[in-house]
């Protein structure tokens, strides 16, 4: 009888944990439900379910928030930044992973400084520098800003990844008279796929969701990233639920869908990045 009781208790316990966990999703569920209701309905019954599949809010949002342009901009910036960060980061990581001396220790210290500096510390001077260089409100400007923000993490990430790769392959190539560049390009770089995949998740998350940099650095609507489009559409005063909720759903949908597909990989990748 006792194992039976224990099993019932265990199933009951697991069911309660699942219920509590799902309750954490209530705000996401609320956001989706509200996006199908008119402002008048929400004012009257704040928590009711939508009466019908009313799509008027979405039609209005898609028409007025410049959504697809924002998606394209965010995608383009993400891709460019990923390529730059992966290239510069892995190149710098190669000597850092293979040599230990005063120089590499100094470089690691400088990279750590970049990693530890909160963006708000550098935002004033970066604004001034970008203005002097004519980089405000331009794609190159925002790409450089995001590249700089992600680069320190990339260097650390690749350094620990390359350190774990056996040196034998490289030594064989060196015997065949390959130079440092050839060894990096033909031997090391092709092995970095898994690290680059995880890194590109970080970059995508940061470029898609970051608010401060594009808010301060971009000013013309056709260059906005998705989040800035959402912010400009919803506004800051007298917020209307029939604009807020569809814009919120549209703004988070791409990453939520991506998360549903690559859930395991994203959680373990982001966690591994943190633990290292």
């Amino acid at each position: 009888m006792r194992p039976m009781i224990r099993r019932v208790v265990s199933i009951f316990g697991q069911a309660s944990v699942v219920v509590v966990t799902l309750a954490m999703l209530a705000p996401v569920f609320y956001m989706i439900m509200m996006s199908f209701r008119t402002s008048a309905e929400i004012a009257e019954e704040p928590l009711a379910m939508p009466q019908a599949l009313y799509l008027g809010n979405y039609a209005n949002a898609l028409e007025n928030m410049n959504y697809w342009q924002g998606v394209l901009n965010s995608l383009g910036i993400t891709l460019t930044v990923t390529v730059l960060v992966a290239l510069l980061g892995s190149m710098a990581a190669y000597p850092l992973a293979r040599r230990t001396n005063r120089f590499t220790r100094g470089v690691i210290l400088i990279v750590a400084l970049g990693l530890a500096t909160p963006p708000f510390v550098t935002i004033t001077p970066i604004y001034v520098i970008f203005r002097n260089l004519g980089l405000l409100d331009s794609y190159p400007g925002i790409v450089i800003a995001f590249t700089a923000l992600n680069l320190p993490l990339a260097v650390f990430f690749y350094t620990s990844f390359i350190s774990a790769i056996p040196k034998e392959l490289e030594e064989a190539a060196r015997l065949d008279n390959c130079g440092d560049w050839q060894v990096y390009w033909y031997i090391v770089r092709p092995l970095l796929g898994p690290a680059t995949a995880t890194l590109s998740l970080f970059v995508t998350l940061m470029v898609w969701n970051d608010f401060t940099y594009p808010l301060l650095l971009l000013s013309s609507p056709e260059k906005f990233t998705v989040m800035i489009s959402v912010y400009r559409f919803v506004g800051n005063l007298n917020i209307q639920p029939d604009m807020l909720f569809p814009a919120a759903v549209l703004g988070s949908a791409p990453l939520l869908v991506l998360f549903m597909i690559f859930q395991r990989r994203i959680v373990s990748g982001v966690t591994a990045g943190a633990v290292k």
Binding site: M24, I110, P118, F211, I266
Partner: protein, 296 residues
């Protein structure tokens, strides 16, 4: 001649690989910090000449309660978030560690809010907290707790807690995932030994797992502290720093001085203060948490 050059460069050639990354980090981290220090001693307004005014910006920071208050708000907010996020994440991880059947599913569900942006989370929660049309008050009156309903963000005594709860909601899945890695790293023979000795689930948690989780505590506390000290988006969207500056964090103050009143010099001084706070907190935490790890 090129051959001779090649021979000179040969031993250092591999280090040239770091040059592009160093240039970017130098131009966008090291130089800006130096420029920030320089600007912080000026009355620069974004245009025209920057006049050196000595320590006046720092004196202004120290002499007005408004700015010291924003440091206090930032620290209080960080403390609230770090404590609750770590505790709730630990509880979830300890439970899920014992429930392999539902572990991955629950981990993914808890992680979902971290995929959303601060802007959207801020908007949605601002509406949840809204006094008349919001979901939270409607929910409270539906379950008979009408007396608790209030304008969560309009009341200086609850606004900061409300934003902290939103922040914890967003990142508790992150903390849980990191603790789960810590649990997974506990050697299974240790757990097995505890079980054979007849230790209860709670005793195993308290005397075996908790001490061995010290490295996960270090990672979680440092990550959430550094991530929370710079909080800007949630108060910016949800309260604009109000009511009565109850949620006016240091980063909000920096952006307001920068783009609200074009006090570039003063904003730079605030940035340097922020850098000093972050560095000081990080050093103290690192020393304390590492020592705690060694003592376990």
């Amino acid at each position: 001649m090129p051959e001779a050059w090649g021979r000179v460069l040969q031993p250092i050639r591999i280090y040239l690989f770091t040059v592009p990354a160093l240039l970017v980090i130098g131009a966008f981290f090291v130089y800006p910090i130096l420029l920030s220090v320089n600007l912080s001693f000026t009355n620069f307004t974004g245009v025209g000449v920057a006049n050196y005014i000595g320590w006046a910006n720092y004196e202004r920071f120290l002499s007005r309660s408004r700015y010291l208050n924003s440091v206090g708000v930032t620290i209080k907010f960080t403390f609230l978030v770090v404590v609750f996020q770590t505790l709730i994440g630990l509880v979830f991880a300890a439970l899920l560690h014992r429930m392999p059947a539902i572990r991955n599913f629950c981990r993914a569900v808890l992680f979902t809010p971290a995929m959303m942006s601060f802007v959207i989370v801020g908007y949605v929660w601002q509406f949840i907290y809204a006094p008349y049309t919001g979901g939270l008050n409607a929910f409270l009156s539906a379950i008979g707790l009408e007396s608790l309903a209030r304008g969560w963000l309009g009341d200086p005594s609850t606004a900061l807690f409300a934003i902290a709860a939103t922040h914890v909601w967003m990142f508790v899945g992150y903390t849980t995932a990191i603790f789960l890695v810590g649990f997974a790293n506990i050697p299974s023979d240790i757990e097995e030994a505890g079980r054979l000795d007849g230790a209860s689930s709670w005793q195993r948690f308290r005397y075996l797992e908790l001490p061995l989780l010290a490295p996960s505590f270090t990672v979680n506390i440092i990550l959430s502290t550094v991530g929370t000290l710079k909080t800007f988006e949630l108060p910016f969207i949800m309260t604009r720093g109000g009511p009565d500056r109850a949620t006016n964090t240091l980063s909000l103050e920096i952006v307001n001085n920068l783009f609200g009143s074009y006090k570039f010099g003063f904003a730079s001084a605030l940035s340097i203060v922020m850098l000093l706070i972050v560095v000081a907190v990080a050093i103290v935490q690192n020393i304390y948490l590492k020592r705690r790890e060694d003592n376990q």
